[in-house]
């Protein structure tokens, strides 16, 4: 048996809260261990709308959540400026007869504008602009694809983010401050003291199958959708109201702005440009199934398309790449509609249930992850007698020091500007290190993923510096395989590169490749149609007809 390692704090879960707590705790000097059963951001933290939004929706139910989200969203912008991008939204107000609006339509118009007026009060926290009233003609000019039945439009300012990178950067920063970050490590039991005190965890390394134990003075469960299951292993109960949220990804930026629409049940949904794609979101339905087996159904896809078609008639001709789903870990309430559930977070101390030393942080929002993490770390620090202040809102995440001069780098290293541009977006100040890699090894200058403008150099940088344990992790670091070709061209070269960097055998590389290709396909399956059918035939041709990944490959 390997000797036990003693930590101050063990964090179970590598989502935005887990990586956020690990960073905060490590920065305060706590000896911290973060355990994640897959990759960082592989649950809801990576399957959300990719927005640091203030949550105007929550103003109707919970003004405090909106305020907190706006304040924290301002801090997030400060610590990771390169990873945020502005997404202005248009809220189109339509009528069957725009000349003679009904009283209800007027009520919706003025009501929405009142809510936006309140939201404007919080916008300055996150460098958001106040809303603007638009005439129908102005809306049509800004967004020509919108259905011509408007009597007015309203604008609203929000921010997008790459949530995978946000988590990865938090984990990286935590590790730089001394935390131990172990992905693909699954907790399967707890070490208990004589009084029931939780003193550590039993862990299985998912890749080697090896078992280990780690001791910790405190253990916090931030397992998201898996939190109730983790809690039950410690004999305590955590209740939540899991809500499934489904998104669709389109092959390109379909609109100039985010556009809000109402679904058939009156819920607000949206289509928005996001990085190189557009995203349609989202559903919110109670989910009682296994969080490890989350599937998108035909109904959910149709619900979203029908809702968007309402304002964006051409959506049926759009090329849908894939679907994805996540589980909102909303706090338990009985008798409320899904939308009306609070996005408030809560910290549970399980001491009273006979598990002292064990905590759960549940709920909350991506936009306020930092303050949620801070709140918990305050509790932990106090318990552990640590009086260091939180610095996660002032100290930047890796790469956040300075936004690089993109044209300058492009010229100095003779790399195409779009490649350097995406590099700078994802890596901020570290883009220069990637350029240096490319200068030292000219073959790395080539593009690996043409759809997402990812160079070999960027992928190599991620493989070396960003804790990529499996090939599928690489797409969360630098979007390899996420574009329209869905890996038809880049998946196999990425697998070969991964094998080269890690010294894997050819058959090990093929397992990683098949795993990557298979994971991508699951999201395409529910929406395969039109042009994407032809793309899929090409994809299958490369990997199976030619590559024979399913066939004669000897598995060693």
């Amino acid at each position: 048996m390997t000797p036990l390692v003693q930590f101050d704090l063990i964090v179970i879960g590598g989502g935005v809260n887990g990586t956020g707590i690990a960073r905060d705790a490590a920065m305060r000097g706590l000896k911290t261990l973060m355990l994640e059963k897959r990759d960082v951001a592989s649950g809801a933290s990576g399957a959300n709308s990719g927005m640091i939004h203030g949550g105007i929706r929550y103003l109707r139910y919970d003004r405090k959540v909106t305020e907190l989200a706006c304040i924290d969203s301002g801090y997030i912008q400060r610590i990771v400026p390169h990873l945020l991008f502005r997404i202005p939204f248009i809220y189109p107000l339509s009528s069957a007869n725009p000349e003679h609006r009904t009283a209800y339509e007027r009520y919706i118009h003025y009501g929405t504008e009142v809510v936006m007026g309140v939201y404007d009060l919080y916008q300055p926290y996150k460098r958001g602009l106040p809303h603007v009233r638009l005439s129908p003609e102005e809306v049509y000019e800004l967004e020509p694809g919108i259905r011509r039945n408007l009597f007015a439009g309203l604008s609203m300012d929000e921010w997008g983010i790459d949530p995978h990178r946000l988590c990865a950067l938090n984990a990286q920063s935590a590790a730089r401050h001394g935390a131990t970050v172990l992905t693909y490590h699954q907790v399967h039991g707890f070490l208990r003291g004589p009084d029931g005190r939780v003193q550590g965890v039993q862990v299985r390394d998912a890749r080697t199958g090896a078992h280990r134990e780690y001791r910790g003075k405190l253990v916090v469960n931030v397992g998201g959708a898996w939190a109730p299951k983790i809690a039950s292993m410690a004999g305590v109960t955590v209740r939540m109201r899991p809500g499934k949220g489904v998104h669709l990804t389109l092959d390109r930026r379909l609109s100039n702005y985010g556009v809000i629409s109402s679904a058939v049940d009156g819920r607000q949904i949206f289509v928005m440009p996001h990085e190189q794609t557009s995203i349609i979101g989202t559903t919110d339905d109670d989910y009682y199934g296994d969080p490890d087996d989350l599937r998108v159904t035909q109904d959910e896809v149709e619900y979203l398309l029908e809702g968007i078609e309402h304002v964006f008639p051409s959506i049926r001709e759009a090329r849908i790449l894939r679907t994805w789903a996540g589980i909102r870990t909303t706090l338990y309430e009985y008798g409320q509609l899904e939308d009306a559930l609070s996005r408030e977070h809560a910290i549970y101390d399980h001491a009273a249930e006979g598990a002292p030393g064990f905590y759960t942080l549940l709920g909350g929002k991506l936009a306020s992850f930092r303050i949620q993490s801070e709140e918990f770390t305050d509790v932990a620090a106090k318990q552990l007698g640590n009086d260091q202040p939180c610095r996660t809102h002032v100290e930047v995440l890796p790469g956040g020091e300075k936004f690089p001069d993109v044209p300058g780098l492009s010229e100095a290293y003779r790399l195409p500007e779009p490649i350097v541009g995406r590099m700078a977006y994802r890596h901020g100040a570290n883009a220069e290190k990637i350029c240096e890699l490319a200068a030292a090894e000219p073959s790395l200058r080539a593009p690996l993923c043409r759809c997402e403008q990812t160079s070999y150099a960027e992928a190599v940088y991620c493989l070396r510096e960003e804790n990529v344990r499996k090939l599928t992790d690489l797409r969360r670091r630098c979007r390899v395989g996420m574009g329209p070709c869905q890996g038809a061209r880049c998946a196999a070269p990425a697998a070969a590169l991964f094998a080269r960097e890690r010294g894997l055998s050819s058959s090990e590389a093929r397992m990683e490749l098949l795993d990557f290709v298979g994971a991508r396909f699951k999201g395409r399956r529910p929406v395969l149609d039109g042009e994407q059918m032809a793309q899929e035939e090409l994809n299958r041709g490369n990997h199976f007809t030619v590559g024979n990944l399913d066939g004669s490959a000897p598995r060693e």
Binding site: P442, R489, A492, A499, R500, L528, R540, G551, S552
Partner: protein
Amino acid sequence: MSNPHDAVDVLVIGGGMAGAMAALSAARAGARVLVARRALGATAVSSGAVDVAPDPTAPPSDLQGQRLSPDQGAAAVARLHPTHPYGVLRDQLFRLGEALRFCASSLPDLFDAPGERNALLPTPMGTVKPTAMAQRAQRGADVAGLPESVLVVEFQALPSYDARMVAGGLEEAARALGRKLAAVPLTSKYFRTVEDPHRPVHELAAMLDADGAAEALASELKPQVPRGVQAVLFPPVLGRARAADVAARLSAALGLPCWEQLSVAPSVPGVRLQEALDRALRGAGVELAEGAVECRDLQAGSWVIGERPVAARAAVLATGKFLGGGIERAGRFRETVLGLPVFAGARRVGEEYVGDLLDERVESDQVAFRAGVRIDEALRPVRADGVPASPALFAAGSVIRGYDPASDKTGLGVAIFTGYLAGEAAAAASKKSQEAQGSMRPLTSSASS
């Protein structure tokens, strides 16, 4: 209009492997043939080698089992899958070898007659693939026949072809066959320039076509070739127009046999194959027309290609699947030229949820990708009631339902086999209608002018 081509015996729609085989076999039977196509299809992005059938019953790890004869493989597929074209046409399966030989002799620049057994050819993904008939530049790379010491070359200008992956895969495959084989990777900087470190495959191939290019590459490589190496394997860029020539010249200059691995898309060997097909078509006097095809009256044989009306006594539908454009799914499955009913597996498909026709595991046999038109034993596409749409309409290649080249690896084999038979059948149908009509009626209304 008095263009003599406005009246033809056989109209072939689609110019990939299936369409070209249909046109060539119809022309051989004496028919006047017109091939109409919109653009390049799946053949041009294929590996360039012809899969007929691996043993569908052999486990994936049994490489020896994959090395059976293509005839046996096809017969096994026919037994296991009655809806596969080999199954539907099982009574004519004895003519498969004849079809393959016809293809090889029509494309003398690329192919020799098919081998006795499937070759196991290296792919860029580190696997080997059972293949019945490979291009001359590819066939020597059969892992069952390669010498014991192989050099695998990669180009720095072509990072998507990784020599380590291929070398490791070759050694694994050789071990599975109980063979001794050592494969060493080597990176060549030959094509590299500082400004543009990577080049598309088609550009590299064109560069190697140039006079003296193969010799220059060989002299750059020669000092780097380790002692004892007995054969050299290259990425699939050994010339576009003069493939066999480039491989042979490299071999001569290096003093070692040189081969290329199979290609993924975009594919130089695929384009090479398509261009060889086009040459064969022209050589056989087949006219090639580009443009969208529309059917005015199927029973009367009245068609429009682009703007041009064409009368055809018989027609072959060889339009491919989703990639070729013969079948599409835009909300529902549709055969694009004639609106024929589409079948997948045993049932007709239309508007159902696509997810129901797709297994969650990407590597599974996917029913949605077996979609196509149903044919009878005479290769005639049938209507929903099972009756042939026309006595003079035939289908060939992946527009036919029941096979998925990705999972059953019968892609170009089916294209050749069905193309060969469909062309012959179309020529016969055309002759029959000509005899029935005698010389009483002009071929087209426009021909009377």
